[in-house]
Symmetry: C2
Subunit: 301 residues, 2 copies
């Protein structure tokens, strides 16, 4: 265990998810905070949060948050779980009042506002996130009209590894056609699609091909990392990394690909509450590089 | 709470699943035990069991089993959860030594033995069930050679309601083609396909169309109900119901469709540990009739 979050002067950012999908958020954060260390926990013993009540989710997420802050020394927390962000962000902040806590919903909505000209946006997410209507509410708060749709097949398709498969393309086509028809029926003219689930960044290429011309695809994971850069406590803020889409740039602190494996293990400690095997097997696809060893931790319950 | 399992002289059969998929097993049991009452519990707060360790599954399943036996008065327990049957049947039996406990794996294997002439069978199931190799072991114990395949997309496709959808037909075609190619490579000549997941009976029509000519489709839910009839404690054994495939027959005690809703509520009490909404919304498809009110119960943890 780390005794202090300031060991070696490096900030530690804690990232929490119910599973390992939030590794896409960690990936985006690692690119933007090249000097930071990270502690990631996936509450795999109790996933999916989506089928659980708000009360249960709040209790579980609070335990993980306290583990990251009080046992791993995180000075800043990113809730890389749409369900927990939607239903339990206040409860999590109450559980760790000593650090700032950032969810993924507000950043996603904020990025949609930046991308949309019509003010009408589409949001696709899991059943639980859609039922919470958290994206709708966040978008409405920013003057946007949002139409949400649950796409429950997309997570299992990603986990099956069918991220570039005709079946997945067909499922996306069906979901988008239904959503666009509903938007038209309500008189909306959407020009942005928010990927409101941490698994969906892996489907971004298929999504880009499936959306109508001119529609922008917004990635909540990336949006959260962007906002994190602005919110990170002053004095601990590391140098700004370049746009990840542009690739590593000399002199920025981003390490060459060949050194990344070692770099990951040094910079990131990954924890899971159960089911380390699946985390280690699938996680690398989400993180974009090997996740290294995943440590099992018992949060009780 | 029922004070006694023998109230009104009717036997009570307890059915346990991690979710509501086990309602397909309950459905098969209700048809074969027209005089029995039933208590069903879905441990929805902690599903899916498939991603959890054996130790965790055993602890959770034991709590549900004790609830069914000691609080609902069940005199006989059917574990309608392949994962729990595969990993924790002994632990469940130890937790409720006072009643007989039946899983779904052995009955499925036994039915496969009855159906296969070549002695080679295919088993499709969830990732967790396949990784347990419980069907392989049960089949081997009966002199069969079994080849197993995880089909993780089928549960979400069923839950999406796409039980008669071209995408589902295509996914089944892909999975079966992979499995048949593997069987051929190993020199097997399979002539039976075991549906080793409680969700799969809803895909039976698509499966029947997808398998090669002459291959029999075995439904573990139905097989478990069949075995239950033979194992039910003597003296409490209700009259044998007709083959459910033949439909209701006058004078058998099976009620007309119009009266079924009331009948379900009288004969079955359904409990869930969380997420009653999804249980009530989707459960009727699995039970083949309305599930009625689902009661929330807290097993702790």
């Amino acid at each position: 265990m780390r005794a202090s979050g300031m060991e070696g002067g490096k900030p530690i950012i804690g990232v929490f998810d119910s599973g390992f999908g939030g590794l896409t958020v960690l990936r985006a954060l690692m690119r933007r905070f090249p000097e930071a260390d990270f502690a990631f926990i996936g509450d795999t013993a109790r996933l999916p949060y989506g089928s659980k009540s708000r009360r249960t989710i709040a209790r579980y997420a609070a335990q993980s948050a306290q583990f990251l802050v009080r046992e791993q020394g995180a000075q800043f927390l990113v809730i890389a779980c749409n369900t927990a962000s939607a239903l339990a962000l206040d409860a999590i902040q109450d559980a760790v009042p000593e650090v700032p806590v950032l969810g993924v919903i507000e950043p996603g909505a904020s990025a949609a506002r930046g991308a949309s000209r019509t003010g009408d946006v589409l949001v696709i997410a899991t059943d639980a996130t859609v039922h919470s209507h958290a994206y709708s509410a966040a978008c409405r708060g920013l003057g946007l009209r949002a139409l949400e749709k649950a796409c429950p097949l997309l997570v299992p398709l990603v986990e099956e590894g069918w991220t570039d498969h005709p079946v997945t393309a067909e499922v996306i086509r069906i979901y988008l056609a239904e959503l666009l028809a509903e938007a038209a029926a309500e008189g909306l003219k959407p020009d942005a699609l928010v990927l409101g689930c941490t698994h969906y960044p892996l489907l971004r290429p298929l999504m880009e091909r499936a959306v109508p011309a001119g529609m922008k695809v917004i990635d909540s994971a990336d949006a959260a990392a962007e906002v994190a850069m602005r919110l990170f406590p002053e004095g601990q803020s590391p140098p700004v990394a370049p746009d990840p889409a542009a690739g590593p740039v000399p002199g920025t602190g981003l390490v060459p690909a060949a050194e990344r494996d070692t770099e990951t293990r040094e910079r990131v400690r990954c924890f899971a509450t159960d089911s380390v095997e699946k985390f280690e097997r699938l996680g690398s696809r989400f993180l974009g590089q090997p996740v290294g060893e995943v440590e099992l931790v018992d949060l009780g319950g």
